[in-house]
Symmetry: C2
Subunit: 407 residues, 2 copies
C-alpha cells in the first residue's frame, strides 16, 4: 500500500486559511488506500516571534530552554492541521517529534536524528488516520525536546520517509522545483525533471537554496527519492535521486549556481617556505571558519615570495581577517587585503568529468559578457569562478544561455 511523506514549510501554513488549504489540497490528491504522513513547520513568522520574546527575557538563554520554547511553534501547526483534516471529513492525528519516535543526539538547537521508531505512526496509519508530524524537532535520550537546526523540517520528512520505507518524500515549496539557475536572476531558467543527490548537494553548497544539504544527504543515505514540488500547483516538480531514470540527458551541465555570500581575503608577499599554508589555514580551522577557493600564486619568483588568496562567507570575514592579519605578521608577509564585493558563479553536472571543454565554454561565456575572472576552482562535478559582485546577473545569464540554448 502506497505511503507518501509530504512536507509543508512555514509559509504554506502561515494562516488558518492556508492550513485548511493545505489539508484540502492533500485530500484532493490522495488516492484510495494511500497512506499519508504530513510534516509541517511552524506557522509563518512564529519562530521569529518566539525568538523575540526570548530575547526580551534573556539574550543568551540555555540551549535546552530554547528548544523547549521553539518546539511549541510546530506543535501549534500540527494540532491545527489535524483539526483542518477533521473539518474536511478525514480522520487525522498530530504527533510531536517525540511521539513520532524521532530520537536525536543530545545536543540542543542542532541535534541530529539518530533513529526513528515509527511504531506509533504505523499504528495510526493502520487506523486510517492521516498522521501529522511536527518537523524540526525530536527527543533525546534524557527525554528532553531537541530541535534540528536550519532546514530541520526537510530533514524530518526525509528521515521519516526512510524509516517508513515510503514510496516518496514530497517537499512542497513556493517554487515549482529545482531550476537550472535562480529564476529571479535568469528568466529563462528551466525546471529540471530530475537531478542526482550529488548534483543537488553541490548546487546547495554553491549557493542554491531550494533544499538544505542535510536533508539531501539523508535522502542519499536512506535512498529516499525526494520530489521537490509547488504548494500552489499539482504538476510534477523535480525528483532528486541517486541516478537519472532517463537513458539520455539533454545537458551535461545541470545547473548554474551563484553565491553572493562570499568575501575574498588575500595574504600578500608570503615567504615560500614549507608549512606556511598549514599555519595559516589551521589557525582558521581552529576558529571553525570554512575556507573555499584557495589559490596560491607566485608574486616574485626571484625573492621566493607568493600571494595566497581564498574566500570565506561574509559573516566569517571579520574574525577571519583578524586571525589572518595576526598570522601574516608572524610569517613576515607584506600585508592582507579583504574584499567583500565579490561573488561566485558555478556550473554543476555529474557528467562533466567525461565532457571536456565545459570549463572553456564557461570562461568563454564570461568573456562574452565582459566579466573578469579573479579565481577559478573545480571539483569533480563543478567549476566555479570568483567575479565582481555587481556582474553576477550578466555572468549567470551568459553562462546559462551557453549551456541551455533556446530550442
Amino acid at each position: 500500500m502506497t505511503l507518501i511523506v509530504k512536507k509543508f514549510g512555514g509559509s504554506s501554513v502561515a494562516t488558518p486559511e492556508k492550513i485548511v488549504n493545505v489539508a484540502r489540497r492533500i485530500l484532493q490528491e490522495k488516492k484510495d488506500g494511500e497512506r499519508i504522513v504530513v510534516v509541517v513547520s511552524a506557522m509563518g513568522d512564529t519562530t521569529d516571534e518566539l525568538i523575540d520574546l526570548m530575547k526580551s527575557v534573556n539574550d543568551r538563554p540555555n540551549g535546552r530552554e530554547i528548544d523547549m520554547l521553539l518546539s511549541t511553534g510546530e506543535q501549534v501547526s500540527i494540532a491545527l492541521l489535524a483539526m483542518a483534516f477533521a473539518r474536511l471529513g478525514h480522520p487525522a492525528i498530530s504527533l510531536t517529534g517525540a511521539q513520532a519516535g524521532i530520537a536525536t543526539t543530545v545536543q540542543h538547537n542542532k541535534a541530529k536524528i539518530q533513529r526513528v521508531e515509527p511504531g506509533r505512526i504505523l499504528a495510526e496509519l493502520a487506523k486510517g488516520q492521516i498522521v501529522v508530524v511536527a518537523g524540526f524537532q525530536g527527543v533525546n535520550a534524557a527525554g528532553d525536546i531537541t530541535t534540528l537546526g536550519r532546514g530541520g523540517s526537510d530533514t524530518t520528512a526525509v528521515a521519516l520517509a526512510g524509516a517508513l520505507k515510503a514510496d516518496a518524500c514530497e517537499i512542497f515549496t513556493d517554487v515549482k522545483g529545482v531550476y537550472s539557475a535562480d529564476p529571479r536572476l535568469v528568466p529563462r531558467a528551466r525546471k529540471m525533471q530530475e537531478i542526482t543527490y550529488n548534483e543537488m548537494l553541490e548546487m546547495a553548497r554553491l549557493g542554491a537554496v531550494v533544499m538544505q544539504p542535510r536533508s539531501v544527504e539523508m535522502g542519499k543515505s536512506y535512498g529516499v527519492p525526494i520530489h521537490v514540488r509547488s504548494t500552489f500547483t499539482s504538476e510534477p516538480g523535480t525528483y532528486i535521486r541517486e541516478e537519472y531514470t532517463m537513458e539520455e540527458r539533454e545537458f551535461v551541465v545541470r545547473g548554474v549556481a551563484h553565491d553572493l555570500n562570499v568575501a575574498k581575503l588575500a595574504v600578500l608577499g608570503v615567504p615560500d617556505r614549507p608549512g606556511i599554508a598549514y599555519k595559516l589555514f589551521s589557525a582558521l580551522a581552529n576558529a571553525n571558519i570554512d575556507v573555499d577557493m584557495i589559490v596560491q600564486s607566485i608574486r616574485n619568483a626571484d625573492k621566493n615570495i607568493n600571494d595566497i588568496l581564498f574566500t570565506v562567507s561574509q559573516q566569517d570575514l571579520p574574525r577571519a581577517r583578524e586571525i589572518v592579519e595576526h598570522t601574516a605578521k608572524e610569517l613576515g608577509a607584506l600585508g592582507v587585503v579583504a574584499d567583500e564585493n565579490v561573488a561566485k558563479v558555478s556550473v554543476v553536472g555529474a557528467g562533466m568529468l567525461g565532457s571536456p571543454g565545459i570549463a572553456a565554454q564557461m570562461f568563454g561565456a564570461l568573456a562574452d559578457a565582459g566579466v573578469n575572472i579573479e579565481v577559478i576552482s573545480t571539483s569533480e562535478i563543478s567549476i566555479s569562478c570568483l567575479i565582481r559582485a555587481d556582474q553576477v546577473k550578466e555572468a549567470v545569464n551568459s553562462i546559462h544561455s551557453r549551456f541551455f540554448p533556446d530550442k
Copy 2:
C-alpha cells in the same frame, strides 16, 4: 530540607517583564538550601488566542487536538521563566507536564491527575535547579498530552506538593488572600488568616472565585496546606488547612459569598404524585445539568398540585428550559417560568451548626437592606438565599456588616 511549590497564574506572567519579575521575586524570598518548584500557567491571553486560532480552522475540534494545541501555552511560559532565572544567575530547568511525571486519566480537556511520578523533579532539585513545571497539563497512558480543565494549574501545584511531600504550596494571585466577602463589592471585607478546606470548598461552590474547588479537594485529600497570597507583596495571605491552628476563632461565619451566574426555573401546577420530581430531575441529570436550591411548595392543597422551583447556571438555562418544558407537558403541569434576574447570597462557616441564630441574623440583615428572599437553602456549613440580582451589593454588604462588625 524545605521544599516549596509556588504557583503563578497567567496574569502574573503575561509579559516578558512580568516573567522576569516573578523570577526575581522568587529568588528574593528564597532561603539558602530551600528547594523550589514553580508551576506556571500560559502567559496572559495566550490560551484565548489559541482558541480563536483553533475556531478559525475548526469550530468543533477533537479533544486530543485541542490539548495538543493549548498545552503549548504553558510550554512557552516555562521555557521563558527558566530563562529568566538563568539571567538572574540561578540555574533552572523547565519541565512539561509529561516530563514532570504528571500522569492523568485518558479523557482530554478535563483529565484528572491519577498519580505523580516525581523522579525527574527530585533529580533536578538535587542538582540545585529551580524546577519550573507547566501547569494545567499532563500525559495519559497512550502517551498523549492532556489538559486538566479550568483551574488546572492550581491542581497541578497542589498535586505536586502532595507527591513531593512539600512543606507548603503557595498559590500566588492578584488578591492578598481569601476575603470574608468579595472586596470589589464589600470595601470592608477582611482578609482571613486561615480557613478550612471544607469552608473554602463551600465558598467556591457558592461563588467565590479565589480557588478552584478541585485543587482544594486535592489539598484536602493529600493534606497539603495551601497558602493563597499576593503576587505583589510579600506579606502572608490566607492558609487553607484541615483545622484552624488558633485556639479561638473570632467569627462563626467565615465568609459571605455571592453568585450572579444563577437562573431560576419554576414548574407551576405539577400534580402531586410520587415520582414526579424524579422524572423532572433525572431528565436534567441525563443532560448533565447541575441543579441547585430545589424547593417544592404547595400551590393548591385541595387540587393536590404543587410548584417546583430550582436554580441552574445561566449557561445551562436554555437547555434546561427546553428539557423542563418538554417534561412539564408530559406531566400535565400548568407551565414553566424562567428568570435570569436572580442572584444567590450565602454565609459560610464550619461552626454554624453549633451556633443557632445564624440564619435568623442573615434574614434580618437582608430585611434591613430591603431585600426580598425568594428561595432559601441550607447545608451543614452554609445558608443561601436567592434574591433579585440588582440587590446583590446591598445584600452582601448588609450581611457582612452583621457578621463582621467593625471593631
